[in-house]
Symmetry: C2
Subunit: 408 residues, 2 copies
C-alpha cells in the first residue's frame, strides 16, 4: 500500500496503459526470451490482439526483433519467437577502484562484447578522465558494427550525487567534490553518463541480473567486503537511496561504540572489524587500524595470502578468519533485523574462504536475529569473476529502458 505524494505525482493520460504494458512486455521478453506473442498474452493475462499492437510498436522502434519459429507444440501454427534487439547498441561500464580502473563493453542485454581492460587509477581527476576517455574511444572504435552507444555507467567507491554527477567524497581516491560527470560529458557530449556508488551498484547488479538459476527477489541486500565495506539495499524492486543518496551505510553502524578505531573517525564500526585490513591486522596480532601505519610485512600481505595459509594448516590464520566471520555474522544479523531481505548477496575476497567461515557466520547471525526464520535468511556468495561492480555499472545504462513507468 503506497501513499500518493500530493506534492509529486503523475496524472495518467491516454497513453499510460500502453506505456505500462509496453514496459511489462519488454521485461518479459528480457527474462523469457525467446518468447512468442501467444506466450506473452498468457503471461500478461491479456488477449493476443493487444500483444500484436504492443509488439508492432516495439518492432518499429527497433527494440525487439523477430527470430526463428518454434516447434515445441505438437499441433497448430508454429509461434514466431521474439528477442530483444540487443545488437548494434552498447553500454560501457567503468569500475573505478583505489588502485586500478576496469572497463567492460556489453550489448543492451549485458552480453560482454570485448575483454575487460584496465589501467592504474590516476588520482588527479583531469589526468584520470583523459586516460579513461582514450580507452572508451578505443573500445568504440574497435567495434564499428555497433552503431550507437546507449550510455556510460561509472561506479565509484564513495558517495555520489546522482543528480549533479559529482563524487562528493571517495576516501580511498582522495576525491572530494570532483565533477566527474561534467568532466567526462565534455568528451562524450552525445552519450548519457550515469554515476553511482559501488555498493549500490552491486545491489543493482543483482536485481537486474537475468541468470536463469535465480528467482527474481525484489528485496535484497548486497554486502561487499574489501578495503572498505559497501552495502546496497533494494526494497520493492527499487534502490534505497534516502534523501542524500547515502542510505545503506551499514558499514559504519557500530558493533561496539567504544571499539576499534575506524577510518571514518568514529570507533567500533562494523567495517573496522571485518575489512580486509582488520582481518590481516588480527592475524599479525596487533590492533592495526587505518590510523596506524602498517608494518612492512603486513603491508604486502593480502587477504588471499591469509586464506592460503589458513587452508594449509596455519592455525593463527584460521583463527583470524573465524573471528572476522563472527563479526561478519553479527553485523549481518543487524542488517537482517532492520531490512528483513529475501536474500543477502556477499562479495569480496574473503568470500573465497566461505567454506571455512560459513558455520561461524551462520552461528553469529542466529545469535542476534529476533525470530528463527530470520536466522535462515539465504546468503549467496558472488564470486569476483561475476564482476558485480561492472555488472552494476552496466545496469545503470541498460535498466532504465525496462523500468516501471512513474505512475500515480
Amino acid at each position: 500500500m503506497r501513499k500518493i505524494n500530493p506534492k509529486s505525482f503523475t496524472t495518467a493520460t491516454r497513453g499510460t496503459s500502453r506505456e505500462i504494458n509496453r514496459q511489462i512486455a519488454l521485461t518479459l521478453i528480457r527474462t523469457h526470451q525467446p518468447v512468442s506473442r501467444a506466450d506473452l498474452s498468457r503471461l500478461m493475462d491479456t488477449n493476443r490482439a493487444n500483444i500484436t499492437f504492443l509488439i508492432n510498436d516495439l518492432l518499429e522502434e527497433g527494440l525487439v526483433r523477430e527470430g526463428a519459429t518454434g516447434n515445441d507444440a505438437k499441433r497448430g501454427r508454429r509461434p514466431t519467437f521474439l528477442h530483444l534487439n540487443s545488437h548494434q547498441r552498447c553500454a560501457i561500464a567503468v569500475d573505478i577502484r583505489a588502485t586500478r580502473t576496469y572497463l567492460m563493453m556489453t550489448d543492451m542485454i549485458g552480453k560482454q562484447l570485448e575483454n575487460i581492460v584496465s589501467f592504474p587509477t590516476e588520482l588527479e581527476p583531469e589526468k584520470f578522465i583523459k586516460t579513461l576517455s582514450k580507452l572508451i574511444k578505443q573500445l568504440l572504435a574497435d567495434n564499428e558494427e555497433v552503431s550507437a552507444c546507449d550510455g556510460i555507467g561509472l561506479v565509484v567507491p564513495g558517495m555520489t550525487d546522482i543528480k549533479t554527477g559529482m563524487v562528493l567524497h571517495a576516501p580511498t581516491l582522495g576525491w572530494r567534490n570532483v565533477e566527474l560527470l561534467a568532466l567526462l560529458q565534455k568528451e562524450f557530449a552525445d552519450i548519457p553518463i550515469y554515476i553511482e556508488n559501488s555498493g549500490k551498484a552491486c545491489a543493482l547488479s543483482q536485481i537486474w541480473a537475468t541468470r536463469s538459476d535465480l528467482q527474481a527477489h525484489n528485496d535484497l541486500v548486497f554486502v561487499s567486503i574489501s578495503d572498505g565495506v559497501g552495502v546496497g539495499v533494494v526494497i520493492n524492486g527499487e534502490l534505497m537511496r534516502g534523501k542524500h543518496n547515502t542510505a545503506g551505510e551499514f558499514a559504519h553502524v557500530p558493533l561496539s561504540i567504544d571499539g576499534l578505531p575506524c577510518s571514518c573517525g568514529a570507533n567500533g564500526c562494523w567495517e573496522a572489524y571485518i575489512s580486509n585490513l582488520a582481518t590481516i591486522s588480527r592475524y599479525f596480532g596487533k590492533n592495526l587500524s587505518p590510523r596506524q601505519p602498517l608494518s612492512l610485512e603486513a603491508a604486502n600481505f593480502t587477504i588471499e595470502d591469509l586464506v592460503k595459509r589458513a587452508r594449509t594448516g596455519d592455525g593463527k590464520a584460521l583463527a583470524a578468519l573465524h573471528l572476522t566471520a563472527r563479526y561478519l555474522g553479527l553485523g549481518l544479523a543487524s542488517i537482517i533485523n532492520v531490512i528483513d531481505p529475501s536474500q543477502i548477496y556477499l562479495g569480496g575476497e574473503i568470500t573465497e574462504a566461505w567454506d571455512l567461515i560459513e558455520p561461524q557466520v551462520r552461528a553469529a547471525i542466529k545469535e542476534r536475529t529476533l525470530i528463527r526464520d530470520l536466522g535462515a535468511t539465504p546468503i549467496r556468495i558472488v564470486p569476483a569473476n561475476e564482476y558485480p561492480r561492472l555488472r552494476g555499472a552496466v545496469a545503470l545504462v541498460t535498466a532504465p529502458a525496462f523500468a516501471a513507468p512513474k505512475v500515480a
Copy 2:
C-alpha cells in the same frame, strides 16, 4: 527507477488510467479540501472535462460530496467546493498496550467522533476479545447516525503476520501465535479487520497525517521509546515490511555487542540503553536489566517522576537523562546512516524532557553521522496527546481507499 517483477506484476487494462486518476483526485481532495473541480484540473494538469467525469463517478459512489460555493475569485462563476464524504462511515482504532487497551472512533478522514475509552488489558486472549468486542459494539450502538463501519484497526506491541492476522510474539503481553484476527472476526463478520505492529503503525500515522503545518515526507522513520523501543520506516511512501513483516527492528541493533543484557536475550541492544527501564535503573545507580527483579522503589517509579526530579534540580536524575540522550543519539545516528530519511519522528514519555536532552542527542548524532547534512536530519517530537498509535490504527482502516493502485 523501479524494476518490474516478472513473477508478479499487474497488466494495465482499459480502466487503469481512470483508476490512477481517481486515486490521485481522492488524495488531492483529502489534502486540499475544500477544493473545486477547476482547482483539481490545475493541480492534476489535465482538462476540466476529465475532472467532471472522475468526480461524477466519485459522487455516485458516495465518496465525495459537493459543498458550498466559494467566492475567493474576483471575477467569474463561483466554484462549487468538493469534500470527502466522511460522514456516515467510521473506523474503530484499538491500541493494545501492556497494561491498558485504548479505543478511538473516527470518521473516514480521521476526525474523532467519541472520547477515547480504555480498559485494562487482559492477558487471556479469549477474555480480552470478549471485553474488546463489547466496547466496540457499545461504540457503534452509541453512534446510530453512522451507517457503516469501514473497519477495525488493531495495533499490537509485537510481531504480527499481516496476512493471517496472527500475533506471532508480543513479549510484554506474553502472547505467542495468538489468532487475534480470527477471534475478533467471529464477533464482527462483516467488518474488515487490520492488525499491525505498533512501531509500524506509528510510522503510518505520520505519512497519512493531514496536518497542515507539515509537508508530506515520503521517507521517514518513527522511533517510539517506552518499555521497549519500536521503530517504523517508510520508504517511498510505503511501509518497509521485509519478507516476514519484521523489518525496522533497530531496537535490537547493538550499541555494544558485549553491553547490557536485553530482554531479547542478546546483549548491548539499543533498547537496553534507552528504554524507560534503562533510564530509571541508571538513576538508581544499578545496572538493572529486564532479567533482574526490580527493587520496590524502582518498580513504582516512572520515567515521568524522573523527569520531574531532573527539572527540580536533582543532578543525578538529569545525569541519567543525559546519558540516555547520548545513547539515543548514537542509535539515531545509525538509523540516519542506514535510512537517510527526510525526517525522524520521536515519541514516548521521555520526549517530554526534549528541552533537557536535545543538545546531548544532537551532539551524539553528529558524532557518528557520515556527512554533515546527515547530522542535521530534522527531528520532530510527537507528543502523547497526538495518539500516534491510535492514529496509525485509524490509518490501517482509512488509508487503503486513498492508496496508489498496484500497477506494473
